[in-house]
Amino acid sequence: MDAVKSKFGFEINQGRHIDMDRIDTRLADEISAHVRSWKACLNCGSCSATCPGGVGLRSLLLKLSTLGELTTLDTCLLCGKCFLVCPRGISTRYLIIQIIKKRREYGKAV
């Protein structure tokens, strides 16, 4: 399909819509079954603000739960500062480990 489009010298923009009817959130569902406290996230951003590795954990987790997509975690030091600051006491460090494990299961590097 892409090859056909490129022949015409243009591409069709993908819609930016999140289509909740079609999103596959199984990955997120499997992980949140292990770490139930994740569901209580308030999106306050404390985790991202405190991260010495510069991981935007809030937005990473939000993308994972909303779209089932996972962006890179490779600068995470597993230091656990995000867990120390979370106002809802979400086990973020354990959550990150679960995400890494799942990704390995799915055969993708994190």
């Binding site: 930016r16 819509h17 999140i18 289509d19 909740m20 009817d21 139930r36 406290s37 569901k39 209580a40 996230c41 999106n43 939000l62 993308k63 909303t66 779209l67 809802r88």
Partner: protein, 348 residues
Amino acid sequence: MTNQPDIRRVDVRRVAVIGAGPAGMAAAGSLASLGIAVDWYEKDPLTGGKLHDYYQLFPDRVRASEVLPELESKSGKSLITKYLGRTISEIERHPGGIVLKNGSGSCGEADAVILATGFDFFDARLKEEFGYGIYKHVITSVDLERMLPVGKDALRRFGKDPATVGFVHCVGSRDEQVGISYCSRLCCITGIKQAIEVSEMFPAAKVYNFYIDMRAFGQGFEELYRKAQEEHGIRFIRGRVSEASEDREFRIRVKAEDTLMARPLKVTVDWLVLLVGMTPSCTEVTLDHAEKQQEFIKPENPLTSNAVRGMPGVFAAGCCTGPMNIPESVASGRAAALQAYDYLTRDR
């Protein structure tokens, strides 16, 4: 005369309480306990007000029907005279007291008056973009409250359990488009409670709550919010629904922005529940020929008093002064009763 004990002669004085919701019930009961005679006016044929419209009350999910008898006056019942199905449209101050009127006719007198006329639910049809009154499966939180006690069948569609249910927060609250600038405060927790009730009824259903801010202010409210997320998996999406439309299967297509993701979003739901706000009651009593108010009554000093400005002897209680939950309404009714008592017993 001089040998008489110092008893203030309050027994001949009468207080009119207008409205028999939680605030009016608390006010009438408190006055009777204080030994004051009460004329109690209610436009509906029974006392209890909007408690009759509710199924379970937040945050502890106590049945509304269990709360009603608790609010009934235990003492001094003989001092209360009920006038049910009687509307008071105007009150007028005269040198001898206060005259209660319905239209042009006088229908009673009192030495002091407690207004506990309550509120109306926002008319969701005014927010046409949500399709209330147009699409069958767009309902309000008030409709849902009546459907919940009926059980699963009330929410099944064409014999099937609903797969997705959406809740829209702030319908008729914080919305200059419908001339309402204030927050109704109680819709957030109602949305949380009803989302839990729906998800308990249909555990497989996905439940989405669309909100601007979550304002879980009361005792136990934040805990219920967390429970909704963690135990029931209810998804709270920050973003106001822009519009709803119906598809060929009579499901409701919802458009919103997920403002945390900063991306537009669409989702199809089997039911869309509009969490309607509270508006000043249209049956509100007009004070001294004033223009019929479409505002909540502002007490003289909202921090410390229930007295209505410029109307000595008139006190306002409960939701006619602004959105309140049941414990607040009850406290407000009791406070107004005590102030009316003080007014009657102090030297004037």
